[in-house]
């Protein structure tokens, strides 16, 4: 048998590495790289990467559920549009998408955010992180990015899939893009609003405990209980629109909906009211986080 060909090529690619410990004199990156490392490893952990299938199953299932409405509408359009004359923009408006998958987003944040903080507190890993040059602020910045980035998979990606699908099915995609380019920043804004809100609130609750189950329960209770209360009070006082602002689980969805002009008339309250409530909730959650990670607090 000849040694030429692919085998010879592989042999020439082989290299012998010296794995003895030596002094490292290579590049050393700045603090931003450390923050991104915390974000990257955190995001992977929250999605169950490098762990068993059980850890991956729930986040992946929720991501699929979040994309499902867009896929279903696009699929129906692909199969039956000629017969039904379906208009994709009317069938599933962007302004309604997040409301439709609101429970999925809520659950996704409830499951992924505790994974970022609780194990570090439970396993004592914080002292290991802080014994490196990582500061408490850098640690929190990394974890906030790690919470928000996966959340965009359920708050932003599905709407982008829908937008891309509409473009594909349009007879004149360029014309559609020219007419509807303004939807893209609205979609982006809506996705970021929800990811920031649920991510920061989820982290704030998770910072209070080392037990993941308690963090998930506490998070759901914190967001769902005021929403139920808001609904009950609105039954008694139908004209008190401000009561919608204490519905903490749906507050960011209302805020994001206000970004879409076609939906404003259907959403009780004004944009500035939602903005104010959003800032207050995210601000309080941020303060809780900072307080829980002040020097000596984790001891």
């Amino acid at each position: 048998m000849s040694s030429s060909g692919p085998q010879a090529a592989r042999a020439s690619d082989a290299e012998i590495r010296d794995v003895r410990y030596g002094t490292y004199s290579g590049e050393r990156r700045g603090r931003g790289a450390a923050v991104m490392s915390l974000a990257r490893w955190g995001a992977l952990r929250s999605l169950g990467a490098r762990r068993g299938w059980k850890a991956k199953a729930v986040p992946i299932a929720l991501i699929l559920l979040a994309v499902a409405p867009a896929v279903i509408v696009l699929g129906v359009r692909a199969l039956f549009a000629d017969q039904t004359g379906i208009d994709l923009t009317d069938a599933l408006p962007f302004s309604d998408y997040q409301a439709i998958i609101g429970v999925v987003i809520l659950l996704f944040a409830g499951i992924t955010t505790p994974e970022l903080l609780c194990p570090d507190r439970r396993d004592g890993t914080l002292q290991l992180y802080f014994s490196t040059a990582v500061s408490r602020g850098e640690y929190l910045a990394g974890r906030v990015i790690a919470a928000i980035a996966p959340l965009l998979l359920v708050t932003l990606a599905p709407m982008l899939v829908l937008y891309a699908g509409i473009l594909v099915f349009e007879e004149h995609p360029v014309g559609y893009l020219q007419d509807h380019w303004a939807e893209l920043p609205r979609i982006l804004g809506a996705g970021v609003i929800l990811a920031v809100y649920y991510g920061v609130v989820g982290l704030a609750v998770a910072s209070l405990t080392g037990r993941r189950a308690f963090a998930i329960g506490g998070y759901l209770l914190l967001l769902v209980a005021p929403t139920v209360l808001s609904g009950l009070l609105l039954e008694a006082f139908p004209d008190a629109e401000w009561l919608n602002l204490i519905a903490l689980s749906t507050l960011p969805i209302g805020f994001a909906g206000e970004l879409f002009p076609d939906a404003r008339a259907d959403i009780p309250g004004e944009l500035w009211q939602y903005l104010l409530a959003f800032v207050v909730v995210v601000g309080v959650a941020s303060l809780v986080l900072l307080r829980r990670y002040r020097p000596g607090a984790e001891a």
């Binding site: 590495r17 794995v19 003895r20 410990y21 030596g22 002094t23 490292y24 004199s25 290579g26 590049e27 050393r28 990156r29 700045g30 790289a33 450390a34 490392s37 915390l38 490893w41 952990r45 490098r50 762990r51 194990p119 570090d120 396993d123 004592g124 890993t125 002292q127 290991l128 992180y129 802080f130 014994s131 490196t132 040059a133 990582v134 500061s135």
Partner: protein, 315 residues
Amino acid sequence: MESSALTPQTGAAARLIAAEGLVKRFGAITALDDVTVVLDAPATGLLGGNGAGKSTLMRSLLGLVRPDAGRVEVLGVDAAGHAADVRRRLGYMPELDCLPLDMTARDLVVHMAELRGLPRRDAVLRASEVLFQVGLEEERSRLIRTFSTGMKQRAKLAQALVHSPELVVLDEPTNGLDPSGREEMLALVRRLSSELGIAVLLSSHVLEDVTRTCDAVVVLRDGRVVASGRIDELRGLSGDGVLVRVTGDAGRFEARLASRGLTAARRDGDITVSGAGEDALLDGVRDAAAEAGVALRELRPAGRTLEDALVDVLE
């Protein structure tokens, strides 16, 4: 013995650690009480019982604890004022459990290298090297939650070494290890300063851990430095010979020693042998024992042990 007993320093560059008047209180408890010490040996042991202040001193060096009074310099940098700069140049192996249980050893070490500024590719290569050095190369892909205590200690050591620190701070590295695990860990620690050129500060409450791995020692009690200096100076080894116990004809053994020019003095069954340099002395004892047909039951330095010296100081 106060810090004046230390080996004279040869300049700021040689000083690994210099603490002056360090005080740290936790409520009514004074964890560090006017600690003044200079460390410049390749490997220094921090010795003391539980609550002596070892961990607090180590955490002060890392800038994790801010002293109430005094100052501490590490590698020539003010540890309290520039903690991040210090920590970039140090490796730290904490005493308590601190490993993320849901990560593999490889992922942990790569992640810790990235946090210390190494680019990802370099971090992966360095992780392989350091895991090989601590004997975890076969286990690198296993989740840490499946590790034994000894393997966890090795993983902690690996993450402390991955970024090529100038000084590595080891807080009770043999804690919880079985005898064989302890032997292996001590051998690893000794290699850090003797072969790999990494300065070591090790804390322990076990004297033998320090004598086997370190060149100098600082003894703490109730937050105060009660002794410090080079180990061989503290126990006064040089020229004292060795103490031997044998089973068999001791007289014949002494005769064989004398025929080799060695001096033997017997007292209560112990034979103190002297009269040559260390290597020649040990070779002579071995050969004399073989020729006399006696079995060596004990062979150790005849001078004061470090334990003797410390008992003197503590009393």
